[in-house]
Amino acid sequence: MRFKIFFSRFVPYLLLIVVTLPIIIGYVWILISTFSTRTYGLLPVDKAGRPGGWTLSNWSFLSKPEIWMVTSNTFILASGLTIGVVVVSMMAGYALSRIKFPGRKAFLSLTLILHAFPTVTLLIAIYFVLRWISVIPVLGRGLPIIGGFGYNTLGGVILVSLALQLPLGIWLMKGFFDNVSWDMERAALIDGCSRFRTWREVMVPQIRPGIAALSIFSFIQGWGSFIIPYSYMVNANRATIATYLNNLLSETAPTNYSMVAAVGLFQLLPVLVFYIFTQKYLLSIFAGGVKGAA
């Protein structure tokens, strides 16, 4: 009997630990490896294979100018994506949630269809769209910082990432707006606001948790995004941290994985920090993004 209680108590924990082990090991490895010369499994070793070999030399990549270029690119990509997704989604989500207009139902259905639609299948065709945008003067490839919105520009990558993230963003923001009191919005209209001003000054402040969640989510997405910059930036190792890391990874033998791991941790760190401190918000996205369905 005693054994049975013990069994039913601890077996769930044991099972959970076993199935979760690969994830935990992956993260533990990246932490150890970053600060060791080499690792045999999870064991840090020196060049001769003896245990030990703790070092900071893997972080020497921080002195290379490329890393700061790709970091700044990645940061611009993530920030641009975040601002774009949040603003555009807040506007469209508000209209879909709160304004009566012809075709509203059709727009809502469309948002949902696009939400379910697998966007990666469009990557090939979007390549052509970007080539065309490139031809447009100034907008194509003549802007400062982001380069423009065409092929092989940071702006193009931001725009594509933004567009593909929109259905989720709009649906999410619509859901948050749905829950704001109608009386408050009516009060604003009676107080004399236009619809635009009501949106900006009264409605948007009410959905701050939603905005925070979508911002964090978008930033993490942009920060880690790989396939879009990889597809539309010509010089992959000079584009974003992800493409830079991928390049390193394909060129490096397991012997020197520790150096690659350091770059990986460099990219992972902000995400982890965000995740630890904003889990509550993020979960509301993962739950909310599918809540419409559940």
Binding site: G49, L114, F196, I227, L245, V271
Partner: protein, 308 residues
């Protein structure tokens, strides 16, 4: 008091609110869908350039049906979707949801948080971890922790078991989707019901069978359909892990390689978009079916302000 409104308010407010989204959706959803189908009817490639291509009708689709690799990619895709879905997106996610809702709330939450890590980790970093897990002795974790202690022959496991690894890599990301849906569904089962079944003296396994699983019917169906579609079209992780080597080129990756991979030299845009067009068609059809089947429309409330 004038009929004209001031300060930007007006009958077409909704249009201005929707405009930015509308432009982006047209440029990056509608246009690409049209382009996909259009180019799939041409022989466009790096060789023809954007000028000298010809309209060839359904020839690309005929080529797909007679292509020696078609069956290979199709079979791999089916196998990959089926295994990942059954063992991870459904199986593993259900197991984790059941276990984490069974144990203490805080610890359960912690485990679910850990399972969300693969989803938020930058994809290249995440794949790097798996590559090191699979790496050859004496470095690789699998070799060090399991293979060596058992006295088996060490190897670089990625080329040895490529299919296993593409399933694992995607599965550990995919499991969290179902996990969230299932665990919130389990937690929403009325406590009275759970209590009643405890009083009835049913074991935990009986409760799963007769109480929890019936409650999960809807989320199970939703996860199955939604994840089938996203697995069928996903290729990012595989691209980073093997880039299609060792027989891991699923249909979506095949299309991507044909149309955009710079390695092959001649980009076959026509043929590549034809491969993608098949996925796009499946995607559109299934997305529309979801919307009808899962009755999203019922979630739509009417605006309670009609003024302009």
């Amino acid at each position: 008091m004038t009929e004209k409104t001031t300060g930007g308010g007006g009958k077409y407010d909704w249009f201005w609110f929707l405009l930015p989204a509308l432009i982006l959706v047209v440029i990056f959803f509608f246009l690409p869908i049209i382009i996909t189908f259009f180019i799939s009817g041409t022989n466009m490639s790096t060789a023809t350039g954007f000028q000298n291509w010809k309209w060839i009708g359904l020839k690309n689709y005929q080529r797909i049906s007679s292509h020696p690799e078609t069956l290979e990619h199709l079979w791999l895709t089916v196998k990959y979707v089926a295994f990942t879905l059954v063992f991870f997106n459904l199986g593993m996610s259900l197991v984790i949801a059941l276990l984490t809702t069974h144990i203490s709330r805080g610890v359960g939450f912690l485990f679910r948080a850990v399972w969300l890590l693969p989803r938020i980790t930058p994809v290249v970093v995440y794949v790097m971890m798996w590559r090191f897990i699979a790496a050859d002795a004496p470095y690789g974790i699998l070799n060090q922790i399991i293979i060596k202690p058992l006295g088996l022959k060490t190897a670089n496991w990625l080329p040895m078991a490529p299919f296993l690894f593409i399933v694992l890599v995607n599965g550990f990301i995919g499991a969290s989707f179902g996990m969230i849906l299932f665990s919130s569904a389990i937690e929403s089962i009325p406590k009275d019901l759970m209590m009643a079944s405890l009083v009835d003296g049913s074991s935990y396994l009986q409760r799963i069978r007769y109480l929890i699983i019936p409650h999960l019917r809807w989320p199970l169906l939703f996860v199955t359909t939604f994840q089938t579609l996203s697995l069928m079209t996903s290729f990012e992780q595989i691209l980073v892990l093997t880039d299609g080597a060792y027989n891991t080129e699923v249909w979506a990756l095949w299309a991507y390689h044909k149309a955009l991979s710079t390695y092959s030299g001649n980009l076959q845009w026509g043929f590549g978009t034809a491969l993608a067009a098949i996925l796009v068609t499946i995607g559109i059809v299934m997305a529309v079916i979801y919307m009808r089947y899962f009755k999203f429309e019922e979630l739509v409330q009417e605006p309670k302000i009609e003024t302009q």
